[in-house]
Amino acid sequence: MTFPWLTTLIALPALGALLTALVPSGRGTLAKQVAIGAALVTLVVGALISLQYLFDIDMGVEAETYEWIPEFGASWALDVDGISLALIALTVLATPIVALAMWREAEDETRDPKAFFALLLSVEALTLTAFASRDLLLFYIVFEAMLIPLYFMIGMYGGPQRRYAAVKFLLYNLVGGLLMLAAVIGLYVQSVDAGAPSFFVPDLVALDIDTDTQRWLFLGFMIAFAIKAPLWPFHTWLPDAAAEATPSNAAFLSGVVDKVGTYGMIALVLPLFPDASREFAPAIVVLAVVSIIYGALLAIGQTDMKRLIGYTSISHFGFIVLGIFALTGEAASGATLYMVNHGLSTIALFVIVGFMIARRGSRQVGDFGGVQKPAPKLAGVFLFAGLSGLALPPLSTFLSEFLVISGTFLRYRPAAIVATLGIVLAALYILWLYQRTMTGPVRPDVEGMADLRTREAVVVAPLFALILLVGFFPKPLVDVIDEAVEPTIVEVDVERPEPLAPVAEPVEEGTGR
């Protein structure tokens, strides 16, 4: 038997969470070290797994299936394709960075910081399981279970309104999750009726479900995912959670965990319910475009920096959903790449804003001004992260945004045109935020602000390196994503629209830059 890479990948952070929780109270630093150690080991395993897919080096990574609840036909089934690989890579990369960024966040609380780090690792384990799972019940279980540690992370360590934000977060997601449970059971019953009870996703994809049933099941899944990866009008929990959670927690939440929602759309909804997806796609596209514009407009109007970034995420999730439901290969690849890039740039933005908040003790835009004089490096990294957020070429986000819009243009031209407006608005909210906080006369309470510290530099350096790396050299990643996305789009089987003008192949677009 070959080495169970994927199970190991999930077991490591889970074990790390346990070890962190077992560190005696009062040894906060040790707990943090254990947590980061576990996250780093997970990163190494994740990197080894990625080697096989990105560079064709045979590491012996294979699909794993172990019997779990035979009564239901549920199994511990894991596998990796391009889409999940991209997100697994994002998760294992983000966790140590976020853990390092939150080093001081749990400090001045009355609580032991170890719980914070243990919860972070448990969320990592659950998120990785969601991305690697090929069993619908397993996916559902981790999809729901990860709410609990996140709920405690927001509710115990956040800002003054954290209780409200935590409960809102939990209830929104729980309602979506329960609707999805009904749909999961409905789908399972379809397999029972077909004579082969199973939760194994490929089995379920192979089922022939009539369109009417598909519609209902589609709605059950889609509402859950639309709440998770907040799509207008299901988004209202995110700004609150983003504002009240600690900056690094908000970064992990919207940068990594919420991708489970968009992952569910592309990896489960499309292949499971091709007919319903086709039917509902125009409606979803409209919602996605509304999200893009609405999120951007509200971001412009925010005075709270974390809330502002929360709204930019809603806008970006709009792009991702748009790309998925445009149902073209380019757009879907772009959306998947967008998930990774949005993760990188949002984490960077949130943690850098977190550095600023930690110094100034306020998250209001109005309390900053002229920061670039006392803290030029801080201002610099903030600008870089911001530019990545507004998808400036050649940063990685540009490529994904371009793919999404050009892919959408083939099918839904008006939607693509309106979505382009979102890019303009993005420039507005990011540059305006920069202008109001970093430039202008130095406010008296900002004068002595410390510049970027070593730990903080270590946090942002890998993020920036990756943003640049994916921006300049996206081919390996885009290749594996394309390979995974193509069959899904073929499965949905929409007639491929003819390009109106010659459109270059996505990969060449990327490498050309």
């Binding site: 729901e144 939990l170 329960l178 449970l181 059971i185 019953v189």
Partner: protein, 508 residues
């Protein structure tokens, strides 16, 4: 006329429990007072353990014994075994003596007037009440008989044997005795009323079928295809009696008062075991005897299931007392079980058995936790007093949170697998609207469970808040077992699901 032959081996668990109960009564009469507590607890535990062993040895038996009156089959044995396990843990909670400074949770003499001189003297002398144990044994015997009863008469006898001791036990709280006695009286009056209705329904059914045996009733149904008004009235009235016992809307109004007033250890025992027994009896009656009448009783139970889930979940939102909240939550859970019962699908029985077992364990554990959170007036059941419990005793609060998450049906707890299996059975049986309502009710229910968790973990402790008492081994072991089972059955439910599936065939 020949004397009836009894299958002593197959009926041994019942005989053991009832025999021990009778011996318990004798002990009350003859054993010196200072030894009674020890002897009673030992006898009760031994009897329950012996019965459990006998049940395990009987696994796989399928026969109708006692001249057709008692069924020994999968569902009966599964439920009896579960009831015994829960009862053993409960007896541990009854025997807990560290919380009240040497006393237990029961009034030294149930007959003494609350607040009277007599009561004070008894408390000062450190008197312990030991009638609790034989009463509990009788109740357990009745509960074991109830889901096994295979004719109407035995069903009624079991109902009464189960209920009468429970009425008494409810009125025995050491603290807040008036509330406790009021609860007992309410339970008794309403219970007697529902028993009467049940009996009335039995008479109708007997009038229609001319027999008391479930199997023969079922044959009578297929023989006379014409639907008789008398039969439908009988089924309806009997359903009322059973729905009262499971606490389904609109027959639920006793639940919050009784749950609140009864000594908490009894509440947990009753909430867990009565539900098992009553649902067991209900499933057998409706599937075995009235199975042919499915299309007639399904609409009625549809309505009851929907009302039960919604009322239970919505009214629980407004509760400020933890025991009342758990009472309404138990109503909502009765509704979830009903969704599977209504569907009457082949997988329904197994789903119900699994659900009841996991729900029973979590309920017992949750009520045991309630007994530990105390202030000067005894248990601090007002929700406001639970604020900040997570800061003061994180382990206990985490355990309680685990039980609440299981009630809410969050994955990785047994409650999720239970919910998944009953909803699957319901959907499989074509009851999709029930599942939708169930999902909505779950979401509402999640809100009030989460509210308690918020209160425990995110609120600051009240200045004069309750303390968490350190229990003796009895309670500690019980809670630990409950929590471990809740978690374990959420992660690896396979073996129990398998057992429930194997045990899901009724003997006819």
């Amino acid at each position: 006329m020949n004397a009836p032959t009894l299958e002593y081996v197959e009926l041994a668990p019942l005989i053991t429990v009832f025999g021990a109960a009778v011996v318990g009564v004798l002990i009350e009469a003859f054993v010196p007072r200072r030894l009674r507590h020890l002897v009673q607890v030992a006898l009760t535990l031994l009897a329950l353990l012996a019965a459990l062993v006998q049940i395990i040895l009987l696994a796989g038996t399928e026969l109708v014994g006692a001249v057709g009156a008692v069924a020994v089959d999968g569902p009966a044995l599964f439920l009896q075994g579960t009831i015994l396990v829960l009862a053993i843990i409960s007896v541990g909670f009854f025997a807990e003596r560290r919380l009240e400074g040497g006393g237990d949770a029961f009034a030294p003499a149930a007959s003494s007037l609350p607040g009277s001189e007599e009561e004070r003297v008894l408390v000062r002398q450190g008197m312990l009440q030991t009638e609790v144990y034989p009463l509990a044994l009788f109740a357990v015997g009745g509960m074991m008989l109830f889901p096994a009863a295979n004719d109407l008469l035995m069903l009624f006898i079991a109902l009464e044997v189960m209920s009468l001791p429970l009425y008494l036990l409810c009125g025995m709280a050491r603290r807040r005795r008036l509330l406790s006695q009021e609860a007992a009286l309410k339970y008794f009056l309403l219970g007697a009323f529902s028993s009467a209705i049940f009996l009335f329904g039995m008479a109708f059914v007997y009038g229609y079928a001319g027999t008391l045996r479930f199997g023969e009733i079922s044959e009578a149904l297929t023989a006379n295809l014409g639907q008789d008004g008398i039969l439908l009235a009988g089924v309806g009235l009997m359903a009322v009696g059973l729905l009262f016992k499971v606490g389904a809307v609109p027959f639920h109004s006793w639940t919050p008062d009784v749950y609140q007033g009864a000594p908490t250890a009894i509440t947990g025992f009753m909430a867990a075991c009565t539900k098992l027994a009553a649902f067991g009896a209900m499933v057998r009656l409706f599937y075995v005897a009235f199975g042919g009448l499915r299309t007639d009783w399904q609409p009625m139970l549809w309505a009851v299931a929907i009302a039960t889930m919604l009322v239970g979940a919505v009214v629980a939102l407004t509760q400020t007392d933890i025991k009342r909240m758990l009472a309404y939550s138990s109503i909502a859970h009765a509704g979830f079980v009903l969704t599977a019962l209504v569907a009457a699908d082949s997988s329904a029985t197994a789903a119900i058995l699994f659900y009841l077992a996991t729900y029973g364990i979590a309920t017992l554990g949750a009520f045991a936790v309630v007994t530990l959170v105390r202030d000067s007036g005894g248990e601090a059941t007002h929700l406001a007093k639970w604020a900040g419990l997570g800061k003061r005793s994180p382990l206990l609060a985490a355990t309680f949170a685990l039980f609440l998450l299981a009630f809410a049906g969050i994955p990785l707890t047994s409650g999720f697998v239970g919910k998944l299996s009953v909803f699957t059975a319901a959907l499989d049986g074509g009851a999709a609207p029930l599942v939708i309502v169930g999902v909505i009710a779950s979401a509402v229910a999640a809100f009030f469970y989460v509210r308690v968790i918020v209160l425990m973990f995110f609120s600051d402790p009240a200045p004069e808040g309750p303390t968490v008492a350190v229990p003796s081994l009895w309670t500690a072991v019980g809670i630990t077992l409950g929590a471990a089972a809740t978690l374990l059955l959420g992660v690896v439910p396979g073996p129990l699901l398998d057992l429930a599936q194997q045990a899901s065939v009724f003997v006819r």
